[in-house]
Symmetry: D2
Subunit: 241 residues, 4 copies
């Protein structure tokens, strides 16, 4: 029996660089090879769910089959993959913290001092693991919303590092990074992406794959810069135009 794989999809520099679309496409490609895939969205904000978000500012919420109100991204996943998701497939920081607080009030922590590390990190890991164990999926994709370096993302990276340590060869990090070509220069810049990789590194994580978002393919000089500075594998850097 082969073990289940988890692929975390994270994004650097700024939001809106297409994490969701990239993840959906990767999941489709794998699904087409007859693996069962799962998709999960992590929204690191503090709303317990998307039900309290203003539709004009944030777009309509998407309602899952079991009634959970969540981000439109989940709707995109459903349409793209042609499969349904449920409340095991969507979380926010607010939801995770609220779960911890409910346990604390219910005396579930045996009178211990409850801490962000390890208790919130454990709650995150349990949520991730549960989603996989409760299903027959082979490959679970998990998109971490927001941007590498956001305060609200830190505990999710702590959770990922812990999972990588325990499940070494089954957990992967895929970083989606922009390589802008400022109009007045006409030259592709790698510095923003390098800063993002370094921020990820500061949590003890190195990307297993990089999807480079740019208007043209990364040349060898730029690929080698990433390879040499961060010990990445040349074959794990993909230009996504």
């Amino acid at each position: 029996m082969k073990s289940k794989k988890i692929i975390f999809v994270v994004g650097g520099v700024m939001s809106g660089i297409g994490k969701g679309v990239a993840m959906s496409i990767m999941a489709s490609l794998i699904k087409n090879r007859d693996y069962k895939v799962g998709l999960m969205k992590v929204d690191p904000y503090l709303n317990i769910d998307a039900g309290t978000m203003h539709p004009i500012e944030h777009g309509e919420t998407f309602v899952l089959d079991d009634g959970l109100e969540c981000d439109q991204d989940m709707g995109n996943y459903e349409r793209f993959l042609d499969q349904s998701f449920n409340k095991n497939d969507y979380i926010t920081s607010g939801y995770i913290y609220q779960s911890v607080f409910n346990k604390e009030r219910a005396l579930k922590y045996d009178g211990k001092c409850v801490e962000a590390i390890p208790h919130v990190v454990n709650e995150i890991q349990d949520f991730f693991i549960k989603s996989i164990n409760d299903s027959d999926i082979d490959v679970q994709f998990i998109e971490i919303g927001g941007t590498i370096g956001d305060f609200q993302n830190i505990l999710f990276y702590e959770a990922i590092r812990g999972m990588k340590n325990k499940m070494k060869f089954d957990v992967f990090v895929c970083a989606i990074l922009p390589f802008p070509i400022p109009g007045h220069l006409g030259e592709m810049k790698t510095k923003p992406a390098q800063s993002a990789v370094r921020q990820l590194l500061s949590f003890g994580l190195t990307p297993d794959f990089i999807l480079a978002r740019a208007e043209k393919e990364l040349d060898n000089k730029r690929i080698n810069k990433l390879v040499n500075n961060f010990g990445l594998n040349k074959n794990s850097i993909f230009s996504v135009l």
Copy 2:
């Protein structure tokens, strides 16, 4: 009318270096000069209050006049200052987050995306300000539990920086730092304290005062190291044996 002052007391390197005692003594000295003083304790853990903590592991909780179960430190403050405190004088990260979640569920954020920065930081600042405005105190001391650099302390430092920016000359940071003299060396080490100041600096905060905990007085060489590396004032570094 003179403006109210706030003195944040933070500790570096490790816990158990006497933040509470130092703060009580400073408060007493000021009280003896006929100023009204307040004392507040911030416990950065996630328990909503100390009521769920195991008495054997963490000591008896202390119950304030208005019924709040909190850390024994509050009892020490009451005995030391001979005055009573109430639920405006004690908070945990758990309490602050729970307040934010309650507001979010009650639609108090106008459909906005609720974020650690600024929403939790604002909630912390409001708690600090309220405690001062609701009383006739002249000088409010606020002890931030835990250690500079703890993840759970970050948002409190963000709150302090914001308050310093807005109320420049009324907000002070007093850092209590150990200067160990390892037995086999017999030489006082400043590196741990320097690392702690640098961590504080990384949040945009410089200590206005340093209380140096050591077995003997800091000599000029060591004081100058702190002064030169961090732009501190020589007269703001006090050896506390």
Copy 3:
């Protein structure tokens, strides 16, 4: 007698965002008001000067009146300001380190252990101060090449913080930051700039001015984000289209 002012010009996120041009324009505006201005370029790389740089890869070097081979930026400054510069107006990390090594070999450090902090930092500050004291300029502009967060820039930020501490009201930091509008989104992103300000903050520095490089003016929502998160002054943020 009014004191001399120093304005450090630093850039965030990536290179090529027009630090040199922006600095030249600011200097011109001030020069037109009959102040004497100076311009200095700091190149944080390790070449001792630009004489060993390949002209095809890096462009022709520019030769100052006193023979120093340096970056073409110095030529731009000369043409823009219509004044000449000399070897007091251009340094590299390599030059600074080499000066420290020469002193060390010549026993100028009295047998002390020579350290990056404070010795290299002091050497940098002495170079900055000398350039101002040796001239009759009123306002000295100093461009720090590279990008906030670069390893090679750290000691220069340490030097700036030290100078701000000592010469509080005469030293300013002007940060030039890009606010990209990714074509497929049409929405201005502040995250890259926010990360850059936070990196600067981590060295204990807050920008006194921000020049926002963008295709259109920053709206109030985005300005307020910067103001609230970092305690900046609303009037110190300028959109530079």
Copy 4:
């Protein structure tokens, strides 16, 4: 043919915690099993060698067989291991930078912009590799002087991470960390050691072994804290009284 192993010995929190002695003992134990061992000392300060250091302030320099003036640690290694070392076994940051500058002036970098990363990092790696390749040793120990988190150590950690990436199973990091028991508390503190591991982590490095310097053995509770927070192996944490 078995491959050569490199063990980097680094120290956290403060200097003077016995890195040199610990490394000598480890080397002796391995030498007694008939492996050939090497020892190298890295002094991250900027003096080119120890020849310019004041004997009263820093102790007599130790002179190697080939005339290099270096730290007394090298003498301790010679006496402890009963073998001689040479100038391939001792470096300072100053020496490394000066080598880079000499190459730059001699046009050895093909007109490139010379940068701390990668050029200084490469120079460090070349020095480490050369020392191993030029000898018949099986296990090379390399002590990084100073303390994890020092600015002057950063490029050495960058070098180590790069070597770990390329020579995965032959490069190890051994961290020596103090676990103080403040006299007035009588309770062992893990926070300083945790901060040090987290700083190491921020460079993408996890210790393969920890030598815990303390007055008594670490108990299971404290070992588990390190294991759980950083994904360390329980069997790789050794109490060294």
